[in-house]
Assembly symmetry: D3
Homo-oligomer: 184 residues x 6
């Protein structure tokens, strides 16, 4: 039987590969879910960073970080055990953004992103950036779903059931409609 | 067979009870672990808030939020699926602190705390606060463990194995010793 | 004759009803004045919050908080004794905005607002929100007055005399014109 | 009869002399009240700045700015009409502090202060600083009153009746005691 | 021979005239260089303030403050010894901006600026503001150079050689192109 | 004769070695000067970072960044042409501090420091840190000089003549004495 020291030594040699995936998730939808499923086949653990965490109650960012944490965690199912879901506030100093993120999340090996700025910043810091797996953005996009919420179209088939549930609980559609009225 | 609408309706009636537990976890130790195990018997889900998230590399707060996320998540074992582990930065305006926290975490029902200020702030906001389950603070305390790290005493039996592993990975004891030298 | 303790007890039973009215007041005009007069008939005391207090010297917010305090206080006349005039800086985190405001002003009972976001935020926090009394916004509006200042039209009949006086004292029209030149 | 233009011209020639008085007012007590009464004999209007406005729920600063606004405004009696009571948040950059204050309050002519740093900062900016009228600080001081609140001594004769009332309304003594327990 | 005290006395009587010149320098180009040369004939020393110092990696502000420091210092040649090159972060409170700047740079006598807001702010603070010497802005402008970088036109003749060198070293054109893609 | 492209190519191959030296310089004294002279023999250019740039008017940090810029630049003599003197504000997040500094200064190769925290932070980021050249800290130290200023002892032989001059110009000793009175 291995003693404790040996177990630790052994574990230190087992390298866990972690991928990073950053989004605003306003709201979390089936496109995001698909991406995470695909990433999960390439890495051992996924760090899901909820960006713009301190934003809420705006047309672009209606949901709080807490609400988005619930949406994501409850939708992950079996994947939850291998995901870290971490809200991250914006700091509008891009030269410091990577260091800011690094201090808030577990160490990772691969960044998944299609955003050019995110890609640029991580590459300048020496990270490997892979293109995120693609989904059909003309159908699944936060912007489109928020627009459908406003106009009264049916958007419920575009999000996991648990997201629908959370949005109903917090009366999210009513909130969004109210906020959008200010714009008129 | 239930259709989707019905399922959602049903779920809305199932109330999940959530408890909140706030700490700095510098580092996460067996006392914290014990508390979380006890709380897990009273509630369905636990929100573990890592306070002072933006602090690190000080004598009082040597570890980054990311390192503390790893310590906690990896130590939770079977409980991980029912826990949310969320780093929260300090805002030194106590009148706003509860609202700050509320926006960053899932809704919760019960606060577990022995801290008088935390208790006062949540009670002024109308929350139920229960005393945290107790453990022997003369043995298990972050302050004591950090002191032992510095003086070279053995502290490894006071933390979960996964915490020991993470601290070794980031060379945490060396970091703490170095920082403490500045104080002399 | 009542002793001191009794007087206090008695006063504690006299509930003062306070209304809250939030604006940017760039500048304070007769429309605002009218609203405050109407509110003053429904409540005992009015809290007038000067929003975006740290803004000044911009096209949208030319006047400092201090200048706006003078405009309002000097125009209130007999109402001044039942008004609190309080500058409040913006914090662009709407989930925390109500708590921020609450900590800076006396407790209040009714919010007067026609702004949808303000209404939404206070209602989510459990406050009663009433529509502000209306005035003719096509005639009286800060935006229009600032536009008239720039183009040289006569706007002085749209503001209380004390506001005119303060704007002359700080040479506000010259300031606004100068700032607007940058935009060309 | 004077027309409007003439009235304004006339008013512009009437110079209102304003004094500035800065304090934390934790709580507002009879010493402060005495100072303000004396200042009111030297100037036409007084600007009372509530410093450390965003502080509350600490041993040094237990009361919110809103609570302090109530304490002061309600105690001023006949003087209220010639006072501006303005909460001001701390910015811990002394080289900018005077400009920060200037932008938040009406223009003033004389600063009343016994604080050496405040005096230094205003004098470097070219202001006239007068010593505040004195009161017996061994009897009347915020620090002493907070200490008496904690130890259960009678402090109520040291504050205006309206302050006592506000502290009872917000259960201020209980709050302070609770916060102080953390320190033990 | 003069002793030390005398030397100091003498130096105190020699008044050094300093001019202030503020820009974002994204990038530093020959128009800026020309201005600085002309100013150098009117004053003894020039303070060159790099505004928006914490901005970088955006379309409007692609270069870091550090990169801009190198561009300027290396291009100054013989003038370097009489220039102070100082990065200054934005604080979006114009009422405090002059005080913020004053605390970060040596004392100066004349402000050179063609920006209306800058002129307004310094004049309200009692400074002498002179129009900057002019250059042909339709040819030389940061905006135009950044646009040329993107479109692949030749811009290298518009900047000092040392600027070209620094931009190549940090692969600035590639950075800018990448960032601009996000906008499409 | 080389054409422009060739010159640039050539320069790109000439590697300039830069050293970094961080201090608060309250005030800049002959110990600092000695260190910089020694470093100047090991590297081509020196980046002198003025830490805690936004601090001033305190016992620990009496002088503004602008005043410290003057002290240093004027004392450097022949070395000025190979030095960059850059004020840097504190951000109290050590995990991000190195990235913050990197974005504000030219790229550098070697860090000179005897501070354990600074050393730790740069080493975690992969930088080479060398011990600063030593001087006699029992004689030359900012703390000691400030103490001497207060007590009226002679300190003028401990600083370069230009520092003495600047401190006299801003009446620094009077400022420090005034601030220190608050502490009594």
């Amino acid at each position: 039987m291995m003693n404790r020291e040996d177990q630790i030594m052994q574990q230190k040699n087992v390298k866990v590969i972690r991928g990073l995936y950053v989004g605003r998730f306003q709201p979390y939808h089936l496109g995001h879910q698909e991406v995470i499923k695909k990433i999960s086949k390439e890495v051992d653990e996924i760090i899901i960073v909820i960006g713009s965490a301190e934003e809420s109650h705006t047309i672009k960012d209606p949901f709080t970080a807490g609400e988005r944490v619930v949406m994501i965690c409850n939708s992950l199912g079996d994947l939850r055990g291998k995901c870290y879901v971490i809200p991250l506030r914006n700091i509008n100093r891009f030269a410091v953004w990577v260091a800011h993120l690094l201090s808030m999340v577990p160490k990772f090996d691969i960044v998944y992103s299609n955003n050019h700025l995110v890609t640029q910043l991580f590459e300048e810091s020496g990270f490997e950036v892979r293109k995120s797996p693609m989904f059909d953005r003309t159908v699944m996009s936060g912007t489109r779903i928020r627009q459908m919420m406003k106009s009264g179209e049916n958007w419920s088939h575009l999000v996991p059931r648990e997201v629908l549930l959370e949005i109903e609980k917090v009366r999210g559609v009513e909130r969004l409609k109210k906020i959008m009225e200010n714009d008129i």
